[in-house]
């Protein structure tokens, strides 16, 4: 079974530029999560989708971050405009409907904002 795929793996941009990350969850996984992990810290949930609907986006900085999962499969996370403090690893995870507890994580996208 293929795991969670993310791209790109690395991205370097200048502040005020925009950037987008892509995630393809494990086939059949209805729930998808985006986390932000700043260096030296644990992951922090940004947004959670159930199929193509948002379940929780309470910690998403909506003035600059947006995410979508239009067809209930792939998802994109966008930052516009980026700030220096957005430098982090952005992790995508997915969970199957019948397994309410285990999340499977992708390798992450490492973002550096200069």
């Amino acid at each position: 079974e293929a795991g969670v795929a993310q791209s790109p793996r690395y991205k370097i941009i200048e502040k005020r530029q925009s950037v987008a990350f892509w995630c393809n969850p494990i086939s059949g996984h209805a729930t998808l999560y985006w986390y932000q992990q700043i260096l030296g810290q644990g992951p922090k949930l940004l947004i959670q989708f159930q199929n193509n609907g948002v379940v929780d986006d309470s910690q998403l900085p909506k003035d600059r971050f947006s995410a979508e999962r239009l067809k209930g499969v792939d998802s994109t996370l966008k930052i516009q405009p980026a700030k220096l403090e957005d430098s982090a690893v952005y992790l995508c995870a997915s969970r199957h409907q019948t397994d309410q507890e285990t999340q499977y994580f992708g390798p992450g996208t490492r973002l550096l904002v200069l």
């Binding site: 969670v4 729930t31 030296g40 810290q41 644990g42 992951p43 922090k44 949930l45 959670q48 159930q50 379940v55 929780d56 992790l91 995870a93 969970r95 309410q100 507890e101 285990t102 999340q103 499977y104 994580f105 992708g106 390798p107 992450g108 490492r110």
Partner: protein, 112 residues
């Protein structure tokens, strides 16, 4: 402050020794999970313990949970150099969504 705070922040041991990491949390939970993260890679689920369980084993891993003290520990026995990684506890408060709240992690280094 963080839900899920690990201690120690860093731990260095020799191969063959046991490693113990602790996690404390603040609110009621449905379950607590431990994840491993190797340098530059994603998180790997290690083990889950539910709020009505006190101890769980998986291979060389042993997890305990004390809900009265809101704390958990992860013991890795007979450590190997390949166990070198960051270890995170994550709490799930239950309800819809299975939202995880991660701690800051313990960096474990196992010296050959």
């Amino acid at each position: 402050s963080q839900q899920g705070e690990e201690d120690p922040q860093a731990l260095s041991i020799q191969e063959g020794e046991n490693a113990t990491m602790n996690c404390s949390y603040k609110t009621s939970i449905n379950n607590l999970q431990w994840y491993r993260q190797n340098s530059g890679r994603g998180l790997v689920h290690l083990i889950l313990i539910r709020s009505n369980e006190r101890e769980k084993h998986s291979g060389r891993l042993r997890v305990t949970l004390d809900t009265s003290k809101k704390s958990s520990s992860l013991l890795i026995t007979a450590s190997r150099a390949a166990d070198t990684a960051s270890y995170f506890c994550a709490t799930d408060a239950g309800g819809s969504g299975s939202r995880l709240t991660f701690g800051e992690g313990t960096q474990l280094t196992v010296n050959p």
